[in-house]
Amino acid sequence: MSGPPPIEVRGLRKIFRQTTTGQTVVAIDHLDLTISPREVVAIVGQTGCGKSTFFDLMIGLEAPSEGLIHIGDKSPHADFDHFRGRIATVFQQDRLLPWRSALDNAKLPLELIGLPEEEQRKRALTWLNRLGLGQFTNAYPHELSGGMRQRVAIARAFAVEPDILLADEAFGHLDEVTAADLRETFLELARECGSTAILITHQLEEAISVGDRIVVFGKSAKLLADIHVNRWGKESHPLLREAIQSTLLNNRADPRLAGVP
């Protein structure tokens, strides 16, 4: 297995023009970021800092206004079809197709890459079983609870065993116990699959608990801090949390973050 390619973001800018006023809004301003293969990176930032725009650029649904995003030597936007089955997403809401059963929802990305029917079924069932939904494969989304639906969404993302997994506030709407359980499962599966995982979140606890790295975005996705969590001892997590909070509040890196290599 060759493993996922590295991600390179260089001089990335994204500018939107408002249709009503014609004014331009800079959502991302000269962002540089490198993500190594198999890293689990949590991106935190306040509402409106450009996290979701970065997510759309990463999955290739938006084109950069300037600069580049390269996954390996290819762009997720310009080489859109190349990444079919290589990038998978989990969203804040489960976004399951209501007319499909749990099994058929989990099969969806496998159908898109054109796997044989039997293989699709086998792989989707495997992932649903891994997520504890073996008895609910024929249930429709409206018959499942919020947590179960999000599990199906995670199974759908993992079914293609992607190189890159992107999660946008994937656990934010769930209760604390369910969210913690799902976060743990998600991380375990991502590591097992050997995928690079990028989690976008506004919850500091979540970022600290899941990320190998925490990237802190200020306004216009300005990179305020890039923290390797493992270099902080577990006992330092409250301090780390405080430092990130202060960074976000003041829109500049807290000096305490500079002390750690």
């Binding site: 079919r84 969203f91 976004r95 197709l97 499909r100 159908e111 898109l112 609910f136 018959e143 947590g147």
Partner: protein
């Protein structure tokens, strides 16, 4: 796992009120047919239920089959054309901008005008009837499906696009299933519309079909026959709607 699994519970309803209202209507009609001479109404204007039943017994099934075939064929053609154009208009914003006003104009033209155009433009009776039905029902399918496509939640479109489908996959795995409820509603509306339009079209130019038989009944001043054929039309409409509702319930069983 502590999360809950909810079973959906099917609900059955008995249309008792429907039977009651039909019975009341029949009783009022029968009473009026007896009272007609005393009210100064000619007896043939409100025939008794027995007389109507006799007319029903003389109905020629071939006319029902012909009308039904015309309606079903025209609805299928209208649906295919409407859906294909809606998909093209959804894909191409400029095509949408050019075609949309034209479709609105077509929809504003009265049915009678279309029948007159058809009589003046086309020699064949079947083509005339088919043309009128398609030109009336097609735009309804088109506008309904196009609006439904635009109404597919952005979240679902975004999710689907993130998995990088081809154009065909996007339509057949997301857009089409998502608009199925609207398609059923559109079919129900168009069945009712087509039954009414085909009757008028057959009245004007056809020598077969329920509309033609209504025209003959009118020439013979036979209200009982008109009533009988009208009953057939209503029954046909209910039957077609029931079939669509049955298919709808089966296809949309995923709905809460």
């Amino acid at each position: 796992m502590t999360e809950e699994y909810r079973e959906s519970v099917p609900v059955l309803t008995f249309p008792r009120q429907t039977f009651v209202s039909l019975l009341v209507f029949a009783a009022v009609w029968e009473a009026l047919s007896y009272l007609a001479p005393y009210l100064g109404i000619p007896p043939f204007a409100i025939p008794s239920l027995v007389r109507i039943a006799k007319s029903v017994m003389t109905i020629t099934p071939i006319d029902i089959v012909v009308t039904l075939a015309r309606v079903i064929a025209a609805l299928i053609v209208s649906f295919v054309l409407g859906l294909a154009l809606a998909m093209a208009m959804y894909r191409s914003e400029s095509l949408n901008k050019y075609l949309h006003p034209m479709i609105r104009v077509l929809m504003a033209v009265p049915v009678v005008s279309w029948i007159l155009f058809a009589v003046l433009w086309f020699p064949g009776v079947e083509f005339r009837i088919g043309f009128v039905l398609v030109i009336v029902c097609g735009p309804v399918f088109l506008i309904d499906t196009l609006d439904a496509m635009h109404g597919v939640p952005r979240e679902l479109r975004h999710m689907m696009q993130s998995f990088r489908p081809t154009t065909w996959q996007y339509f057949f795995k997301l857009m089409l299933p998502a608009i199925v409820p609207t398609i059923f509603t559109s079919w129900k509306v168009n069945i009712s519309l087509a039954i009414r339009v085909v009757t008028i079209a057959e009245l004007v130019g056809a020598v077969t079909g329920i509309g033609h038989q209504l025209s003959v009944a009118q020439e013979l001043f036979s209200v009982a026959d008109v009533f009988a054929w009208t009953l057939v039309l209503v029954a046909l409409l209910f039957l077609l709607e029931a079939i669509v509702a049955r298919v709808e319930a089966r296809v949309l069983r995923w709905r809460a």
